[in-house]
Symmetry: C2
Subunit: 730 residues, 2 copies
């Protein structure tokens, strides 16, 4: 047994409940980063203490830990599924309320109200507001109807913004950048309070119902994480184990995506690719898988849309499911458009966000939301396509023209092709501008659905154009693979809309695999996986060529969260080594072993806010102490001993001073700190931070401390090229 | 600039072609592990040298590297797609040859031969062998036909085994364990030769056509990797850069799976989950994505099945796509069965493999193959279900009963339900035993398809039983959610077969996400993602509870490849630290700085086979030298200097000996070696090896070398609990 181990045995005493004494786990303040290595150490000590308990306790305690974990995962899964379903119902009711009410009860939405009549009959139970008021004049109807539409939308959005601003400011925006940072080790408990959960869910329903250009996807991930956080706080192991808590949150995030898109597999892959949450352990992916499946089952059980299916935007093609090789050209074109527009969207959104922060708008968030929602509602009312809920618009755009299903706003009327092309383009442009502005206002807002809508409009436009070309020249050599009779159908404009949406999403988020899975779980278009893949690939390629980051990474950089992107760090010109990035020992605050008193340490702690300090003895690195460790240790020292010398490392040589004058602080010293030579290349240092989730690395030479690099330094280095890095930092 | 950098600038001189001087890249022997950190260093130096070239070369050289990489990826993708298609055509022809021949050309398979007649008419162009020979007697027909069937099968299998044994022994088995080890850094170039590629592809076609209980999936991954390896050898950057080559191989492996299952997304996820290949860089996943898509496009272009679709085993349900909650109980039951049988399969397969190695069978691999194939063919001929190709059997089992499609061997005949249950169970049992034996014989053999077939048989049995129960008691409360009329249909036995296959695959391979994606890309059953997920989850849970590892991990352990599983290492009872696993400095071979001559080093190199040595100076760790670095350095020293003292580190103190008596070896010293304190917990050491792909870690205390751990030590530690670990090592 090494000294360290004997040591640990004394140190990690279990309390009566089988948990570690709280003094030995670190408390993190909001804004700091957790120390994954230390978390693992504490976790390990805890597990082994539990296993070594005699008799039934040795079996029961580990089992209890595991049961608690699965309890949180399963309950979160069910909770998120139910919350998602409830949200859908609420949104449907609120948004129908903009147009009218049910004559036999205010709380029925249009579909429920008209549920009992036979299909084909007109629904007389549902009254538009003008019918309720008894206005029969045509112009009057239009004016009153549009006025109420805009007023309702503004009211919903205003309420949402008011709630967010006054009760839970962290409930604004999508939440995904923050979740990414938290899963990476950032401490931000204020972001996950029950209050935030409530306001975000309620505000989201209002915001979506108001018809603003936003989606529910990101916010649902936030809601899921809040739920898991709330549940986890009932259990000691998650209150103290920050690493364990984060692994739970990762599973919850997967469940959130699963519910948002009705895509259980997409949820797991989103966690894997975008949140980078499962890199640490396959066990975590596994939990995400279970949470995701349970959430989807819960959603399907409630069945808010009454379809009995998870697939939200079913794509049905009239022609057979095959596609022709020449179609790859327009599809890759859609990928290119998606990549370019995605980049433009990110750029505009970032500039709007910076403008909002620096201008007078910063003081009037609710007013901004009200104005934008009034503008959005007016525009949407004018452009007929945008008048319905965005999700309904997307569903209609993905739909093939089928005489049996009816026509949506004349989209299938081939004689009005140019009108449709114009209207769709107009919708796309309006949505583009509105989305770029809306994403970042003081309301819960996701970027997925509006992006899908923009892409779907553009895709449908391209589809209509190709279809028109085919109908005009059915015998041209390009269309040789199509049936010669143009009435049979060869081009499916609905599927072009799916491809357009894939490309646009690829350009904005820069995700790949998870995007493809989400898209075909959304649409059920399994036979078209390849075209979707190709369009996403093209969009990402083009997007990465013109601008480096996806929208979430851009927001993380603006807010300066200590989060490390998974990309390889390649510093262009110089042969940088660790030496180039480290802070040198002369500028570090170090604790000198055997050369300071508790009083000195106390004043040092109040002087500087670092979360830990290297301990040296005559220049030689002894180890590392955390701020909390030092604080706990010196707080427990009686006043009369405050002038004694602190000894961190056991000394084997005879001490100069007498035994009574020393205070043994070796309990707080972490001697297993990672240290490298400063000649190590910078890229390797960065890659160690990324892969090992480190918080700091010390540099030594022949045992002597030479410098130190922290996660914050590395994050700053990696976002330094971004023009607005830190522009929205607190 | 640090000394190391100035240094590097002198060191990495580019040759005329813009490549590093070969002396500075390491040559690895088969059986060793590559040093990822060193590979990254070399790669980094190379990139920066290229960028720093003046003028057009500075732009052209990096561009050329990238173009070469994409060339290999794209050509491999196309090549694998074509190889897969060619394989399908060859297998179809060969396996039809077991039953008869086409009257107007030997090289037509049955489908092609009967292509031109109208559906419904009998095909007279295709003659069974008895028709060719003119045998009309019923018993004679059966005897001759079965005799030819068995003879052909045995002949194909024998040829395959002969080819493999005599020309490319590494072409046997699935190849996935080896690919996993290679991607993790194991050097095994003999496994990827063009000759292996040829024999594996040809042998695979013969083996599959012989009707042995094996699949083409794993071997196709091997074939894809061989192709990528062959192509990469044309380019200097991959010949010297072992890390770069492995990233290419990872993309190729994804393409292999993509073609094997017609599942481009499943390929990417297989690479991600099972091969653990994309953990290093998102860039690699991205390349896998592209390779996978291209391979699928190539396969679809050739369209070997003439369906125009990638979906191999299309599931079509007669009833609507919904499922009922009570069905979750039989489906979870199938998951439990899959988990248990999967464990049994792994156990039996391991024991058969060990028996094969230790018994006389080891000397007679071809004879073994011939015997087993004769046995398989006879059994298959008797059990009608197994007489067709396994893939055809699976396709039929996944099919719903639909009067329009015709019945397959009376599966849809509800009056013969018990006969079907019996026959299907018998098929499953026979396939189970045969597969457990076949997987590991001297032929190319994958485990996926037979596993799917076993699971599909069992699933269909359960489906038939549930259906019978429903038909017997349509009004029972369990079936309350079904339509009351039993003729409408509520239970889809075909879908039970899919669930059974998922569970069985989950039990054998212990994969999760990638399995689900592969399965629904295989079947197109998107509406049933949730049941598939639940069955895979259950199977993995049960399987992990009864036995720890999947079948690939078991084979890796048996062959003792230095591969680290991604699972967290939890050592049960002890508080192990790095000290517990390290080899202490006393038992290490170290190079003492300034205390040995080239002659000493030469004798040391011939004495011990280690791939590198720590360099110490009076106990203090100076750095690390590789075997190749030392070998190169001393080979370049003139004979008359062989007695001088080698100096590895620049000395700032005045040297005792005169300048002329020293040899500067500082060029080969790697001073950036990773070192830890020995008090670091063992789990952390293991996790560093896993996450950073390290080859060794040195332990120091106050700058003094204390010990060392290598990847091989860690791999041995992690497989030590496995009963047959190393049983098949070379």
């Amino acid at each position: 047994m090494s000294p360290r181990n004997d040591h640990a045995e004394e140190e990690y005493e279990l309390t009566a409940s089988g948990n570690l004494h709280p003094a030995y786990t670190t408390k993190y303040k909001d804004g700091s980063s957790i120390d994954w290595l230390n978390e693992e150490l504490v976790e390990r000590a805890r597990t082994q203490q539990q296993r070594s308990q005699r008799g039934i306790r040795g079996i029961f305690l580990p089992w209890r830990d595991s049961a608690q974990r699965w309890f949180v995962i399963i309950v979160t899964g069910i909770g998120v599924g139910l919350a998602g379903a409830w949200l859908d119902v609420l949104v449907k009711w609120l948004s129908d309320l903009r147009e009218g009410r049910c004559s036999y009860g205010l709380f029925y939405n249009q579909a429920l109200c008209c549920n009992e009549i036979d299909p084909g009959d007109a629904c007389i139970a549902w009254k538009t507001w003008t019918q309720v008021m008894g206005i029969h004049n045509g112009l009057g109807q239009a004016l009153v109807q549009s006025f109420i539409y805009v007023i309702c939308a503004t009211l919903f959005a205003g309420c949402s913004a008011f709630l967010v601003q006054h009760y839970a400011p962290y409930a604004f925006h999508t939440g995904i950048p923050e979740i990414k940072a938290i899963l990476g080790g950032y401490v931000f408990d204020a972001f996950l309070t029950p209050w935030t959960l409530l306001i975000k869910a309620l505000g989201l329903a209002l915001a979506v119902a108001s018809g603003l250009s936003l989606g529910k996807e990101g916010p649902l991930v936030h809601v899921a994480c809040c739920m898991a956080h709330l549940l986890s706080q009932f259990f000691e192991q998650f209150r103290t184990g920050q690493g364990k808590k984060r692994k739970l949150l990762a599973a919850a995030a997967a469940a959130g995506v699963s519910v948002a898109f009705g895509s259980p597999l997409g949820g797991v892959l989103f966690g894997l690719e975008e949140l980078d949450a499962f890199a640490s352990e396959s066990e975590v992916m596994w939990r995400g898988f279970v949470a995701s499946a349970i959430a989807a089952v819960a959603l399907q059980y409630v069945d808010p849309f009454g379809t009995g299916k998870l697939v939200l935007f079913q794509v049905t093609s009239v022609s057979d499911d095959t596609w022709r090789a020449f179609e790859l050209i327009p599809w890759m074109g859609l990928g290119v458009i998606g990549g370019l527009l995605g980049h433009l969207m990110i750029k505009m959104n970032v500039q709007f966000a910076v403008f909002r922060r620096t201008s007078a708008l910063h003081e009037w968030p609710v007013l901004e939301v009200v104005t934008v929602s009034a503008l959005t509602a007016s525009l949407s009312y004018l452009i007929v396509f945008a008048r319905v809920q965005t999700s309904e618009l997307v569903a209609n755009l993905f739909q093939e023209c089928d005489p049996a299903r009816g026509d949506y706003h004349g989209l299938c009327n081939s004689s009005a092709m140019w009108e449709n092309v114009f209207l769709l383009s107009l919708t796309a442009v309006a949505k583009f501008g509105l989305t770029a502005w809306t994403f970042g206002m003081m309301i819960p807002a996701g970027i997925f659905l509006p992006t899908i809508a923009i892409g779907a409009c553009l895709g449908r436009v391209v589809g209509l154009l190709v279809q028109a070309a085919y109908r005009a020249w059915p015998t041209a050599w390009v269309f040789a693979s199509c049936p010669p009779d143009p009435l049979v159908g060869c081009i499916s404009p609905g599927f072009y809309a799916v491809i357009g949406a894939s490309g646009m999403l690829g350009g904005v988020t820069r995700m790949t695999v998870s995007l493809v899975v989400i898209l075909f779980e959304l649409t059920g278009a399994l036979s078209h996986v390849l075209p979707i893949m190709i369009s996403v690939v093209t969009a990402k390629w083009v997007g990465d060529a013109v601008g480096e980051q996806g929208i979430y990474a851009a927001w993380i950089a603006m807010r300066a969260y200590p989060w490390l992107p998974g990309v390889e760090h390649r510093d262009g010109d110089e042969r940088q080594t660790g030496e180039g990035m480290m802070r040198r020992v002369e500028s570090l605050t170090v604790v000198e072993d055997g050369a300071c008193t508790p009083r000195d340490i106390d004043s040092m702690l109040s002087r500087c806010g670092y979360s830990g300090f290297p301990v040296v003895s005559e220049g030689e690195l002894m180890g590392y102490v955390t701020r909390d460790g030092l604080r706990n240790a010196i707080d427990n020292i009686p006043v009369e001993q405050q002038n004694r010398t602190c000894i961190f490392a056991p000394r084997f040589t005879a001490p100069d001073e007498s035994e009574g004058e020393r205070i043994d602080m070796s309990g707080v010293l972490d001697r297993t700190v990672l240290h490298l030579k400063k000649e190590v290349p910078q890229e390797l240092v960065v890659s160690m931070f990324q892969k090992m989730s480190l918080r700091h690395i010390l540099f030594t030479s022949g045992g002597k401390l030479e410098g130190m690099v922290t996660k914050t330094d590395v994050a700053a280095l990696m976002t330094s090229h971004f023009p607005y890095a830190g522009a929205l930092a607190h």
